[in-house]
Symmetry: C2
Subunit: 491 residues, 2 copies
Amino acid sequence: MAKEITSREQDYSQWYNDIVLKSGLADYTAVRGCMVIKPHGFALWEIMRDTLDKMFKDTGHVNAYFPLFIPKSFLSKEAAHVEGFAKECAVVTHYRLMNDPNGGGVVVDPDAKLEEELIVRPTSETIIWSTFKTWIQSYRDLPLLINQWANVVRWEMRTRLFLRTAEFLWQEGHTAHATADEAIAETRQMLDIYANFAENYMAMPVVRGVKSANERFAGAVDTYCIEALMQDGKALQAGTSHFLGQNFAKAFDVKFSDKENKLEYVWATSWGASTRLIGALVMAHSDDDGLVLPPKVAPLQVVIVPIYKGDEQLAMISEKANVLAKELRAMGISVKYDNSEHARPGWKFAEYEMKGVPVRVAIGARDLEKNLVEVARRDTKEKMTVPVEGLSSYIKDLLDDIQVSIYNKAKKFQQDHITKADSWEEFMAILDGKAGFVSAHWDGTGETEEKIKELSKATIRCIPLDNPQEEGTCILTGNPSTQRVLFARAY
Amino acid sequence: MAKEITSREQDYSQWYNDIVLKSGLADYTAVRGCMVIKPHGFALWEIMRDTLDKMFKDTGHVNAYFPLFIPKSFLSKEAAHVEGFAKECAVVTHYRLMNDPNGGGVVVDPDAKLEEELIVRPTSETIIWSTFKTWIQSYRDLPLLINQWANVVRWEMRTRLFLRTAEFLWQEGHTAHATADEAIAETRQMLDIYANFAENYMAMPVVRGVKSANERFAGAVDTYCIEALMQDGKALQAGTSHFLGQNFAKAFDVKFSDKENKLEYVWATSWGASTRLIGALVMAHSDDDGLVLPPKVAPLQVVIVPIYKGDEQLAMISEKANVLAKELRAMGISVKYDNSEHARPGWKFAEYEMKGVPVRVAIGARDLEKNLVEVARRDTKEKMTVPVEGLSSYIKDLLDDIQVSIYNKAKKFQQDHITKADSWEEFMAILDGKAGFVSAHWDGTGETEEKIKELSKATIRCIPLDNPQEEGTCILTGNPSTQRVLFARAY
Ligand SMILES: [Zn+2]
Ligand SMILES: [Zn+2]
């Protein structure tokens, strides 16, 4: 009856693809590495986007929109940035097609070659800072708190739906400040907003931390991030916030006159989260029957399914269902009454389970005579028989409970999967066994970090904020270390 | 004191550019033909987008997101479509840069050439219909009612902020239906939604009509449109809705099995509106002091400016201002209390006039003693002395009045600028004189239409819906005609 899903145990990676495809979140397209975000996936993204957008606006940010294209020479202006971003990207070289002189179809018009190639933005620091130069003259123009919702392109060789695609949707914040302290405070504030969103909306616990130098954003002084844990024990970076120092201001010569009329370079941040979050959400909570969505981000929170024989029973059930739907909507809860005749109740149950609808209400004629309905919660699959009286309040409370319950389950999983390792053998045993985060001493050098990555395929996910200082020795080199850091294999 | 704006009389085109730049709607960038939409412009777009989006959803449409890139060969699949769109477009030919072996910077890696070039979407019919093929099997999958908010690129040679840019933002609806009638009804429904939005939100009266064959969308059977009139008497197409027949279904082989299990090609529509609407809004209502925005689309509806000497007066004014702001927000009205010390009241007045804020409330210490404030409306620049008591209700009514009043003014202008012409001399005299729409007989041939365009620079904007049938003779050829059509010079 249900669409076939590979189980997690059988093949975690295939399980993920099955869920994304069969729950209608996304699909492959004819364009290599580019996905289509299907209506159910896009409705999810709209909720995530609108929630984050409100958080950004509540902290004084405004939206703007900058060009899709970046002149090739711009990428070279910041030395570290070009190394990180100028490699795998889509390059526009021509601006016209013409009819193929040798027959059907069209070919690139060789006369329409651009003088300077344009890069489809992989991220927008360069084009934005070239614009900020004309917007910023004085300390009165600061802080400048800009966000952009946009598509970006990175020519990834191996792609996976949502997790790594050539094109993806994201937001990128770009702010300019008069002082380093203010920019750092902004960087930290945005990290907190991402963490709040991940934990309180996506029900996905995260570790907040700072990246090692090797893992920093290309052009950043410091990269902060939130790291989530997937059910297979791999980590996933769910948002980053960068303190850019004066690097981009210097690259694009952006100065402001301070209160003493002295010219200073501007301090910068950038921060981003993307449709990758949808992949994280899928992998954090879903099960072998399909998506499990926390109510706060679910496009549809409640579905009502009638179970009946004949028009008379249906009419009686529909009357109750419509009253319930109306009450729920008045409480701000999204609800659908699925009285379609094309499918049987069992098929509908499986379909809404697949799509991750948090609460299902089944209304049967016989139950209704006793003023009862059946309520099922998606997360635990528990079924309850509930009186019609007070049903909408019951469902409202249940949705709150599901939200908390999904979070608590994920939190317990996370806590069970942060493991200390004090030797290389322990370190590898954990990675190859229960996986998750491994908290271990590291001598602080990029060389050792690189070596560990080669040997174990694990990277330093972050140095947690307020990390306790502790004497120890590096698991690889035995050199002295002052703190543990979190390693994991990652998406 | 105010920033210098060229007057409409002096140079209409420069006036438009001045307003867009100086009110902070948009700016030029380092990328040829691409603009940056600045925060004030983007806030306006967000309101327009969200309003339209709600209308689309209320009529059963859902959002999705399709790839930015289109394989070159896809454009050729629909014969008329390729003629219309394959010419001026951005072509991605490579997917990697490399360090320049001869020195600084990066160059295109010649080894990273795509097998098939990718086109940055100028519109998405082809990529979407290639996807619909996998989504549609049976009549149960229909209708499919999809919308996408996206950026698109058309390599225009002469660009103007908002009106014609290489990259712009828009929405494109793409729907699939089981019958021609249903698709035509959808096409008309979406035209009505655009007209409703233009008239009741943008306060911009429009003519609804159908395009002549020459002016049809490339690949459409019929193109419906709404046409607005700008203050210089030129027309501007503000939204189009296309009945595509089975053209794209045939090009991409999209069939469905009907209730009798017979395979049929699917019927299609597409419809779009873009950031061009912002250009239309600017040109429809603004004056020589800046933007004039209808309250329903204004990002900021009310600004409160204190007029004071010393902290004591400011404290007293602020108390009243904060109460008023709170009351207005409770009514769903957006309001800003600008107590910044950086600028004098006169400078603020000019700045908010420039930005098109519909209502300004000036609170002065002396007035306040008499429980009075000064209220100014942006559209007529009228100033009223109003009692503090009942002020928020007064402002709410005033906003409604401004909305209607801006519409009525534009409606009167439109009606005064639809003029009948019954000879070529009359036709040219109107175009070169008062301009606007010219209602004239035309013999119905594409050749004549083309000739008229060459001679007069005017095009057939549309054949209005429910156009009265009337015997007459073509203004150019003298051949018989059965109806008048609307000509105009256009943006
Ligand atoms: Zn991290
Ligand atoms: Zn028209």
